[in-house]
C-alpha cells in the first residue's frame, strides 16, 4: 500500500518546464525526504500532490485514490511559504482552518485545545496571531497542518525558525505519527535532519529526478569511499593528493572523497606529520556530499556559464 504514487508527471508553465516526467512511490508509514536545490521543482510537485496545480501529464494517486478535492481532507500541508491570518485570533483561525478541512466544530474544538496545551500555547488562544513570536506562529502552523489527523502529511522546512527544544518537540511528534502509520513527506535543505529522520528520499534537480530510493541503499551504492577527518593545522594540501577526488573542508573537519580503488592507508600516511589527526574514519558518504555531488557540479557549470 502506497501513501503516494506519482506516475510520469510533468508540469510546464508556458515555456518553462517545472517538473519533467517524475515518478516515485511512497510506502505508507514511512518518512520520505523530498530534496533538491531551490527551483528544482519540489514546491510544484507538492502543489500538484495537493491538487493546487493540475499536472499536464501523468497521474497522482494519494492513499490509493486519484487525487481530487475530496482527498484534500486526508492530507495536511505545511508550505515553505507559510502564513496565517495575522488579524485573527489564534483559536478562531485554527477553527476556520479546521472547518475548511471538513472538520466539525464539535470535533475541532477539543482537538485544538489539546494541541495548544501540548505545544505550550494554551494561553495564546484568544490573542491575535500577529502578537505571537515567529517560533510560536510556526508551532501553530504545524498544529493546523496535523489537526485533522491526515494520513499524509507534507512538511516543507518544518523546523525553520525553531529553537533546538522545539525542533525536538516537533520531531518527536513526527515520529509518533509515523509509528501510528501516517506517512510524512519531509522537504528540507538540512541534510543532517534528513539523514536522522527519513527512510527514503528523492532528489530533484532542474525538474528531473536524479536519485530515488531508500537512504541506506543509496549510500551503499556510493560505497565506502569517503574519509571523515577531524584535524588541526593547514589542510589545504589534501585536495592535491593523488588519492583524493574531492574535499569538503569545514576548517576543523573535512569529508574526503577517494579515487576508486585508492588505499585509505596511503592517504593516512600522507596526512600524519602535516596535520594533527584527531579522527580518521572510512565510511559511506554523507547525504550532504551526495547532494553536492549530484547537484553541485551542475550548478557550478551553470554559474560559470553566466
Amino acid at each position: 500500500m502506497n501513501a503516494l504514487e506519482i506516475e510520469n508527471v510533468s508540469k510546464r508553465f508556458g515555456d518553462f518546464c517545472a517538473v519533467r516526467n517524475l515518478s516515485f512511490r511512497i510506502p505508507r508509514g514511512t518518512i520520505y525526504g523530498l530534496l533538491g536545490p531551490n527551483g528544482a521543482g519540489k514546491t510544484t510537485t507538492i502543489r500538484m500532490v495537493m491538487n493546487i496545480l493540475i499536472p499536464d501529464e501523468g497521474g497522482i494517486k494519494v492513499l490509493d485514490r486519484r487525487m481530487d478535492e475530496a482527498m484534500k481532507a486526508h492530507v495536511g500541508y505545511l508550505p515553505e511559504d507559510r502564513g496565517l491570518y495575522p488579524k485573527m485570533k489564534v483559536g478562531e483561525m485554527m477553527l476556520f482552518l479546521a472547518e475548511i478541512k471538513g472538520m466539525t466544530k464539535v470535533k475541532a474544538k477539543p482537538a485544538i485545545d489539546r494541541w495548544l496545551e501540548r505545544l505550550e500555547l494554551g494561553e495564546w488562544r484568544g490573542k491575535k496571531v500577529e502578537a505571537l513570536s515567529k517560533g510560536m506562529q510556526q508551532k501553530i502552523q504545524f498544529i493546523v497542518t496535523v489537526l485533522h489527523e491526515p494520513d499524509l502529511i507534507i512538511l516543507d522546512e518544518p523546523f525553520a525558525g525553531l529553537d533546538p527544544l522545539n525542533v525536538k518537540l516537533i520531531k518527536d511528534i513526527m515520529l509518533e505519527f509515523r509509528d501510528k502509520g501516517k506517512t510524512i513527506i519531509f522537504s528540507t535543505h538540512r541534510m543532517e535532519q534528513v539523514e536522522m529522520i527519513c527512510d527514503n528520499i528523492c532528489l530533484l534537480n532542474k525538474a528531473r529526478m536524479v536519485l530515488e530510493g531508500s537512504l541506506q541503499e543509496i549510500k551503499k551504492r556510493y560505497g565506502k569511499n569517503t574519509v571523515v577527518l577531524d584535524y588541526e593545522g593547514d589542510g589545504g594540501f589534501v585536495k592535491d593528493l593523488p588519492e583524493v577526488v574531492k574535499v569538503d573542508d569545514y576548517g576543523r573537519s573535512m569529508e574526503i572523497k577517494l579515487r576508486d580503488k585508492a588505499d585509505p592507508q596511503s592517504l593516512l600516511r600522507s596526512l600524519v606529520g602535516r596535520v594533527r589527526v584527531h579522527r580518521f574514519e572510512i565510511q559511506e558518504p554523507s547525504l550532504n556530499a551526495i547532494f553536492i555531488d549530484n547537484v553541485g557540479a551542475d550548478h557550478e557549470k551553470d554559474t560559470s556559464g553566466h
Binding site: E69, G83, M88, F96, K101, G102
Partner: protein, 424 residues
C-alpha cells in the same frame, strides 16, 4: 459547500467586527441625523435670544409700523425684538458712531439706519457684530420691506391688502405621469435617484476595495497556500465575495431601518422645529425602486467585486494595486458623469444604450428606473446582459485568480495574464 460557508462566515465576521464597519454603519446615519436635527433642536429649545435693536428713523414714519411688524415672541411670550428709537440729530455720522460703540460694548445687539429716501428707493442699513445670521437679517428685512411697500402703496392711494392679493405668485406644480396615473411630484424624484445612485456607487467601490484588500492580505501573509490545501481557489473567491455581499446587505438593512425611522419621526421633528415645515411632504418612494436597487446592487456588486478580487490576486501590495484600479474607477465614474444626461432625457437613445452597457448598467439603469420607469423589456435586457457578463467575467477571473494568488514578485503584464488564462 460547507467549506464555502466557513469562508463566508470568516469574511463576514472579520469585517462586521471592525471598528470601521461599526462606525460606518451605525454611527454614520446617527451622525448624519445628528447633524440635521441637533441644530434644529437647539434652535427650538432656545428659541433665539432677546435682542435690543436701535433704530435711527430719519423719515420718522417707519418706526412705529416696524415695531408692530417685528412681533416675534420668545417661548415665554415676551417680545424677542425690543426696538429703541433714536431720534435723528443734526450730526448723523456722530450719532451712528455712538451706536456702533454701543454695539461693540454689547449694550445694543444691532442698529438699523433708515435713510430719508427709503420710500423712493433708498436702502436701509443693518449694523451688528454678526451679520451672517441669515435668518435674522431676513426677518428684519422682510418686516422693513413690508412696512415700506405698504407706505408706498398708501401714498399712491392703493389698498395694500388688495395689491397683495392681485400680485400673488402663480404656482406651478410638477406632475409625474406614470402608468399608474398622475402623481404629484414634490421634487423628490431627482433627490431619491441621486441619493440611491450615490449609495450604490460608494458601496460598490467600498466593498470592492475590501475584497481586493482581503485578497492582497491573504497573498502577502502567505496564508493562501495553506487555505488552498483545503479548498479550490474558486471556492475561496466565491466565499469571499458572498461573505462581503452579506456584509453589504447587513449594512443596507441597518440603513433602511434608520431611513424608515427617520422618515417617520424626522418629518415630525422637522415640523416641530421649523414653523412652516409641516407643509413639507416626505417624498413617497415606490417600493419597486427598492427592489431594483437591491437587484442592481447585487449584480453590480458581483461584477465589480470579481474585478477587484482579480486585481488583488495579480499584485503584491495595495500600492501596486492603485495603478490597476484606475481603469475600474473609470468604469464607475463614467456613469456618474453621464447621470445628468440620463436625467434630462431618461428615455433618449443615448440613455438606453448607456444603460445596457453592463459596467454602467447598475448605476444608469437604476437612475432611469428612478426618474422614469423604462419598458420592462429594457430592464430585463440590461439585467440579462449583466448576468452574462458576470458569468463570463467569473470564468476568466477564476483562471487569473487561481494562478495569481500563488505568484509573487513582478506584477504580470498582459501577455503573462493571457498565458495564465491558458494554463491547465
Amino acid at each position: 459547500m460547507r467549506k464555502i460557508l466557513a469562508v463566508i462566515k470568516r469574511e463576514y465576521l472579520q469585517i462586521v467586527r471592525t471598528k470601521g464597519f461599526i462606525i460606518g454603519t451605525v454611527l454614520g446615519p446617527v451622525a448624519m441625523a445628528a447633524l440635521i436635527f441637533i441644530p434644529m433642536l437647539i434652535a427650538m429649545a432656545s428659541g433665539g435670544e432677546k435682542k435690543t435693536v436701535g433704530v435711527i428713523d430719519t423719515t420718522g414714519e417707519i418706526f412705529a409700523d416696524l415695531d408692530q411688524k417685528l412681533d416675534y415672541k420668545m417661548s415665554d411670550g415676551s417680545r424677542r425684538y425690543t426696538l429703541s428709537q433714536v431720534a435723528p440729530g443734526s450730526d448723523i455720522a456722530a450719532q451712528r458712531n455712538g451706536l456702533s460703540r454701543k454695539v461693540l460694548a454689547k449694550k445694543l445687539s444691532a442698529y438699523i439706519f433708515i435713510p430719508a429716501d427709503i420710500l423712493t428707493g433708498g436702502a436701509a442699513e443693518y449694523a451688528a457684530l454678526n451679520v451672517s445670521d441669515f435668518d435674522e437679517v431676513k426677518r428684519l428685512n422682510e418686516a422693513l420691506n413690508a412696512v415700506v411697500i405698504e407706505k408706498r402703496l398708501k401714498k399712491e392711494g392703493l389698498d395694500p391688502a388688495k395689491v397683495a392679493q392681485y400680485t400673488r405668485r402663480v404656482g406651478l406644480k410638477t406632475i409625474k405621469v406614470t402608468e399608474r396615473g398622475e402623481q404629484e411630484d414634490v421634487g423628490g424624484t431627482f433627490v431619491i435617484a441621486y441619493v440611491l445612485v450615490l449609495i450604490l456607487y460608494m458601496t460598490l467601490f467600498f466593498y470592492g476595495s475590501i475584497i481586493m484588500r482581503g485578497v492582497i492580505e491573504e497573498k502577502s501573509s502567505r496564508v493562501v497556500e495553506v487555505v488552498l490545501s483545503s479548498l479550490r481557489p474558486f471556492e475561496l473567491m466565491a466565499g469571499k465575495i458572498l461573505g462581503i455581499a452579506a456584509v453589504g446587505l447587513t449594512q443596507y438593512a441597518i440603513w433602511a431601518l434608520f431611513g424608515m425611522a427617520a422618515s417617520r419621526y424626522g418629518g415630525m421633528l422637522a415640523a416641530g422645529a421649523v414653523p412652516g415645515a409641516s407643509g413639507f411632504k416626505m417624498a413617497t418612494i415606490p417600493p419597486y425602486i427598492f427592489v431594483y436597487f437591491v437587484v442592481f446592487f447585487i449584480l453590480g456588486y458581483f461584477l465589480y467585486s470579481v474585478l477587484f478580487a482579480t486585481i488583488g490576486s495579480m499584485v503584491n501590495s495595495e500600492k501596486e494595486a492603485q495603478q490597476l484600479l484606475f481603469p475600474i474607477s473609470m468604469l464607475l465614474v463614467v456613469p456618474m458623469l453621464m447621470m445628468m444626461l440620463v436625467l434630462k432625457s431618461p428615455s433618449g437613445s443615448t440613455s438606453v444604450v448607456l444603460s445596457l452597457i453592463p459596467f454602467f448598467a447598475p448605476i444608469l439603469m437604476l437612475m432611469r428606473i428612478c426618474v422614469l420607469l423604462p419598458p420592462f423589456s429594457q430592464i430585463a435586457a440590461s439585467i440579462g446582459i449583466l448576468i452574462l457578463t458576470i458569468i463570463l467575467l467569473i470564468w476568466v477571473a477564476a483562471k487569473i485568480y487561481r494562478v495569481g494568488i500563488l505568484m509573487y514578485g513582478k506584477r504580470p503584464n498582459i501577455g503573462e495574464i493571457v498565458k495564465w488564462i491558458r494554463y491547465k
